[in-house]
């Protein structure tokens, strides 16, 4: 019994020490659950400008930390999602959006795949529906038969 309690104490100490030495993580206090969910959603939607294949939630770069802080401030000020996205786009360009907005520049991104699939379907339909060649048209005509016979007979 005593051994067990000593063991538990040791575990508690180790866990406690580990917690104390864990790297500092940003802690944001949200007004309510909805704001928290919006923060999480937006930080996944927005791209880190420096480390281009990570979103704000993923990245540890200083700029991503700053932008997370800014995002938090904007949410606390009661800004709407669209206002926050505009804020970021006005500073960092369309690039910060993982889902670019539909515009003349991005038509090919948005509709390119659908157009390609459509093209593929059309090609398949055309190929499948092409009428099989009629056997009668493949058969030799009377003249051709005669010619063939002649040729064979010559030899």
């Amino acid at each position: 019994m005593r051994l067990i309690s000593i063991f538990l104490l040791a575990v508690a100490i180790i866990v406690g020490v580990n917690q104390a030495s864990a790297s500092p993580v940003e802690t944001f206090e949200f007004r309510d659950e909805v704001t928290k969910i919006r923060f999480q959603a937006l930080s996944k939607e927005l791209r880190c400008p420096k480390c281009q294949n990570q979103n704000l939630a993923d990245s540890n770069s200083p700029i991503a930390q700053d932008l997370r802080k800014e995002l938090y401030e904007l949410l606390q000020q009661g800004k709407a999602d669209s206002e926050i996205v505009d804020f970021m786009v006005n500073r960092y360009g369309e690039f910060v959006l993982y889902r670019p907005r539909v515009s003349g520049l991005t038509y090919i991104l948005w509709f390119g795949p659908a157009v390609l699939i459509l093209l593929g379907i059309i090609v398949v339909i055309v190929v499948v529906r092409r009428k099989p060649v009629d056997k009668k048209t493949l058969a030799l005509s009377v003249e051709q038969q005669d010619k063939l016979k002649k040729l064979l007979n010559d030899k």
Partner: protein, 182 residues
């Protein structure tokens, strides 16, 4: 016609190859700034060397201006520093610094030690102006015309080659615009 269709896949693959090969040599960091064509964001900050002097966007008006984002924690800034000292000798442009997320003491020492090329450096400790400018690292350099409109943003180090290629044509154009009173 039938022959051409037979070669279509080959042609498509070659075209795709050309596109992808070109992609290899593009610089993904080379992004246009969202602020090109827009006025310099408003700010009101201390200068690096004088915490009693408050400067605003109005202090940059009237000349062809370069704003160089720098910090002591940025090794590339040290690389481009001698080139900036050279550029500062050019009477046709005014070079300002934006000391970005830095410590005042260290930054002041750096300028004393390496020579101060800037008319003044804006001290942006919190990075608020940097954020409004869409800065995501240092060094970055902005070209602002005499009306206070941002005309170019360049991310990365300036050296003689970069200056000739990226900046000289634009500066010449701006000087011309200014002469014509545009």
């Amino acid at each position: 016609m039938g022959k051409l269709i037979r070669f279509l896949p080959l042609i498509l693959v070659i075209a795709l190859g050309v596109v992808l090969y070109r992609g290899l040599s593009l610089n993904p960091q080379d992004m246009p700034s969202a602020l090109v064509g827009k006025p310099m964001p408003e700010f009101s900050l201390q200068t690096l060397n004088n915490n009693e002097r408050i400067v605003t966007q109005a202090d940059l008006l009237g000349d062809i201006v370069l704003v160089n984002v720098w910090a002591t924690w940025c090794p590339t800034c040290k690389y481009e520093h001698p080139y900036l000292v050279d550029i500062a000798k050019n009477p046709q442009v005014k070079l300002y610094g934006l000391n970005y997320k830095d410590e005042r003491d260290g930054a002041q020492k750096w300028l004393k030690y390496y020579e101060d090329p800037y008319v003044f450096s804006i001290f942006d400790e919190e990075g608020t102006l940097g954020l409004n400018l869409g800065v995501y690292g240092a060094p970055e350099t902005f070209v602002i015309d005499h009306h206070g409109i941002i005309r170019k943003r360049f991310a990365g180090a300036i050296d003689t080659r970069v200056w000739r290629r990226e900046f000289e044509p634009l500066i010449a154009q701006l000087i011309e615009e200014k002469k014509q009173g545009k």
